[in-house]
Structures are given as C-alpha cells and as structure tokens.
C-alpha cells in the first residue's frame, strides 16, 4: 500500500499548467527522488501534497488522506520546502521551540534535533545571521522535531557547497536506513543518485519517467562508435537493418539501436574492414537530461 499517492494531479496558474495530470506513488520505507529541471513542477507538486496549494484537479494523499486530515501530523510528516524561511529576529532555538509547540511536540526534542543537525553552537544565534548551510540544517531540524516516519524535502541541497552536499547525501542515506519514507526533490540527479531507491522524473509539469534507478539506466540507449573503411556504405547497410546512424567523420559512425555483434556481422558480410569499435553507455545524468530534453523537443 503506497504511503504517498498522487492521482491525476493538475495545477493551473491562470492559463499556465504548472503540473498536468500527474500520478505516482511512493512505497513505505523507500527514498524517492522527485526530479526535473527548474520549473518542472516539483515544488508545486510537493505543496499540493502538503495542502499549501489547492490542486485544480486530482488528489494528493499521505496514508490515504489529505495532509490536513492526518492525526499527529508532526509525528507522521516532516517537510522542508523551498521558499520557506525563518523570522530573522528569532534565534535558532526559539524557532525550533515555536515549531515544536505548533506541531504539538515536547520541548525536549528541540535540544535533540539541535544536536543531531550540528546546530548546538548556533542555537542562540539569530536565524538571520545563519549561513545557507546552517539554514538548510535548521529546516531539516524543524522537519525532524516530531521524529516523523515520512520526510518531504524540496531541493534540500540548493546552495550547499560540495561538503554540504556530501553531508546531506550521508544524512539522507541514514534516514532511508532508519526505515523512513523520504520524497526528495532535486533538479540535479547527481545530488541524490547515491541516495534514492527510485525516481519520479517530471518535465514541464508532466511525468516523463517513474522507475528504479536500475530501470532508468537500462532504458538509456547504448551508442556504438565505429571507425571503418567505406563508412557511407556501412551506414546505408546499418540503417537498412534498423539502426540509427550518424556519420560524424569520413570514416566514423555513431550507431544506436544495434548491438556491437550485429554491427560486426553486417560489416563482415559486406567485407568492410573495421579499424575500431567501442560502446558508450550513457550516465544517469545523460539519461535524465535526455528524458527532459525529449519532452522539450516534443512540446
């Protein structure tokens, strides 16, 4: 039974669709990346899930009910959202005290999350004086006040330096290992690739992929590079065999849709000497970019 479910979700601002007929589910105990370029509809989707933005059509539920109807919300769901901030004149500790009281969480958790997120030294600093990394940690600390089973994080790595990104990655992995269900959005696949079990890829408000990382990689097309004599003759033969072929130089081809074995066999049948043959497997990032770029090309 999915813990987070989005069905036919659409949000239009004026005439512009930020999210269009989006459906996906997140199983309990998994870490799922909600990925897409800036403007893909990730933040709007998360805000609809949390009852902050009203969907035009469709439903978004957590444990089969809207967020606002959940009992013990702070113990069920913790969230860090982009464009949320802190009162600059309130200290870190007081911010957490306010969030704890608002969420019905005991004050002892304030010190616990302050220590957990490494904010003890900054506890009496005003939030307005915090660095970007400290602000991200404070957001996470507030989300963890109720020790929730579900975490919804919107671009938590935004603005972090490489050390901060590495810390976040380790932290998210730890949350997943604790058995929590995490839905984390990012425009940068590499930030979350080592952490997530599966991905939901959006582009221009639409779902373009929902799979595990392995499935996503398997869907990436391998490219075969060939250096051959009579490259044009070989190209014609490969295309006739169903390959997608590009002549990149007089003696060089890039081929998709055919295996190395098939290309070698065809070249042998035509007695075309091959001087070099290699394969290139696309990276996860390439697959991600190709998915979103394809949407762009067809829209």
């Amino acid at each position: 039974m999915p813990l987070i479910e989005v069905r036919g979700l659409t949000k239009r601002f004026g005439g512009v669709a930020a999210v269009e007929d989006l459906s996906f589910a997140v199983e309990p105990g998994t870490v799922t990346g909600l990925l897409g370029p800036n403007g893909a509809g990730k933040t709007t989707t998360l805000r609809m899930l949390l009852g902050l933005v009203e969907p035009t059509v469709g439903v978004a539920t957590i444990d089969r009910m809207p967020y606002r109807d959940l009992a013990n919300r702070s113990h069920r769901v913790g969230a860090v959202l982009e464009n949320a901030s802190f009162h600059p004149g309130r200290t870190v500790r007081d911010h957490l005290r306010v969030r704890a009281r608002g969420g019905g969480v005991g004050p002892t958790r304030v010190d616990a999350v302050t220590d957990l997120l490494g904010l003890a030294e900054a506890a009496d600093h005003l939030t307005g004086s915090l660095s970007l990394g400290e602000r991200q940690r404070l957001g996470l600390a507030a989300a963890l006040l109720g020790d929730p089973e579900i975490l919804i994080l919107d671009e938590p790595a935004n603005g972090l330096d490489p050390e901060g990104v590495r810390w976040l990655r380790t932290f998210l992995r730890g949350l997943g290992q604790d058995g929590r269900t995490v839905l984390v959005s990012s425009h940068n696949l590499s930030e979350v690739a080592q952490t997530v079990d599966g991905v939901v890829v959006l582009d221009r408000g639409r779902l373009v992929a929902r799979s595990s990382l392995e499935e996503l990689m398997a869907g990436g097309r391998e490219t075969v590079r060939v250096r051959a004599a009579r490259a044009e003759e070989l190209r014609d033969a490969l295309e006739a065999d169903g390959g997608r072929v590009r002549l990149v130089a007089d003696d060089r081809l890039e081929i998709g849709g055919l295996s190395v074995e098939r290309i070698g066999t065809l070249a042998g049948e035509l007695s075309i000497p091959l001087f070099e043959i290699s394969t290139e497997t696309p990276s996860l990032e390439d697959v991600f970019l190709r998915l979103t770029a394809r949407q762009e090309a067809t829209s």
Binding site: T43, T44, R47, L50, G51, L52, V53, E54, Y67, R68, R73, S74, A79, L81, N83, A84, S85, F86, H87, P88, G89, R90, T91, D94, H95, R97, V98, R99, R101, G102, G103, G104, A142
Partner: protein, 260 residues
C-alpha cells in the same frame, strides 16, 4: 485552538517586535502628553487650557491616540509578517486550519494590544497628574472619568490590534497594510468624519479615540469637535464587529489563497 494560541503567543514573545511597538506606543504618548502638559495654559495657539481646568487635564489624559494606531499597526504586522518573512509555510504545515490560525493571531494580538493600551494610559495619567501635582493644582477631572478614559484606551487598543490582524491577513503585503492603517486614520476618517459629523462616531478610529477620551489632535488624527461619542459598550461592539467582519472577509478570500 489553545495550541494555536499558545504557538502564536510564543511567536510574539520570541521576537523584539512587541517590545518595539510597546516602546513606540509609550514613547509617542509620553511625547504628546509631555508637550501638552508643559505648554498648558500658555499663550500659544496650539496650547491646551491650564491643567488646573478639567478641559486641560482631560486633553493630557487622552494623549493616547497614537498608541491606538500603534496597536492597529502591530496587529497588521503580526499577520502580514508571516508573508514578509515567508514563515506562513511553516505555520500552515503545523496548523493547516488557516481560519484557526487567523483567530488565534487575533486573540493573541488583542491581548498584546490591551497591554499597549494599559501602558499608554498609565503613561498619560502619570504625566498629566505628575504635572498637576508639581504645579500644586487640584485634580479637576473625577477619578471615574480618568478610569473610563484608561479603560477605553485599553479596550480600544486591544480591539484595534485584532482588527489589524484581519487587515494584515487581507492585504498580506506588510508595507501596504501599515500604510492602509495610517491612511485610514489620518486621511479617510478625517475627510469622511469632517464632512459627515453625524457618522464620525461610527468610524473605527474615531470611535476608538472617543472611547479613550481623545478630543483634540496634538499631532494625532483629529476627532470632529461636534461628534458625540457612542456609549462605551456600543463603541466596543462596533470595533469588535469590524474586527470580525474584516477577519471573515480575509478568511473567505486571501487566507484561502495558495501559499507558494
């Protein structure tokens, strides 16, 4: 509701906002009361009558008009500040019932407004009576009247703070909400009250000011001299009703808007 109110109270207590507004309310009241007391009975055309007279002392005791505006601005700042500082997201994550948040803010701001009113009334009374004693005059205003002015300042200040919360929720943009409070007090009511004296007591700032005994300006918005104050309960009911109407309007419109 109790949890929401305790949260809103903690929010207010953990910033310098209320102390700043309290200082402003007391400071402006002290300035007006001090200047009026020092110049009372003088030859200047701006001078109030001598503090030995009921009219002169009454003017000083009712130097709380600015404090009433400060209370309204405080209320508007409390609610619109959630959008200025982008804290509304967290607030609505913790309490998705937005109307409950609005009511909690109004009640808490009203409570803080009462404190502003109390401090302003104490300041005006302290300065007025201090000058009276220093000059060896008799206290020309009955104790019951002094008490009524103080009670009016306190109640009106609380109710205007709650009204400010509704206004800030309706407008959301903090600067616009604050300008709206001042524009209403200094411009709209001055024009409308001046043109139509009979309806002046029903205008919110004028009604609040008359509860506090304000009759003249002293830099504060003027109360039309021909206007008769509403009975205390009616004026308080008018302000409470206005607060409810503005908050209800906000609850049906801006409070429902997407928080993005």
């Amino acid at each position: 509701m109790i949890k929401a109110m305790r949260t809103e109270l903690l929010k207010i207590r953990t910033t310098r906002l209320p102390m700043g507004f309290l200082a402003l309310a007391v400071g402006l009241t002290a300035l007006v009361a001090g200047i009026e007391s020092a110049g009372a009975g003088g030859a200047s055309s701006m001078a109030i009558p001598s503090l030995s007279t009921a009219g002169g002392l009454r003017d000083v005791l009712a130097s709380t008009g600015f404090a009433l505006l400060v209370a309204a601005v405080f209320g508007a700042t409390v609610s619109s500040g959630e959008f200025r500082h982008q804290t509304a997201t967290d607030t609505y994550l913790d309490e998705p019932d937005r109307v409950r948040v609005l009511i909690a803010k109004s009640v808490v701001a009203a409570g803080v407004g009462l404190v502003f009113g109390l401090a302003a009334a104490a300041t005006a009374i302290g300065i007025g009576l201090g000058f009276v004693v220093a000059k060896g005059y008799e206290v020309a205003v009955p104790g019951a009247t002094i008490g009524r002015f103080a009670a009016g300042t306190i109640v009106a200040s609380g109710l205007l703070a709650a009204t400010g919360v509704g206004l800030g929720s309706l407008i959301r943009t903090q600067t616009a909400a604050i300008i709206a409070v001042f524009a209403w007090g200094f411009v709209v009511e001055q024009i409308v009250g001046g043109l139509f004296t009979s309806i002046a007591p029903y205008l919110p700032y004028t009604a609040a000011a008359m509860m506090a005994g304000v009759t003249s300006g002293g830099g504060m918005p003027q109360v039309p001299s021909e206007a008769s104050p509403l009975p205390f309960g009616a004026a308080a009911g008018l302000l409470a009703g206005l607060s409810v109407v503005i908050s209800a309007l906000a609850a049906r419109t801006s409070v429902r808007r997407d928080v993005s």
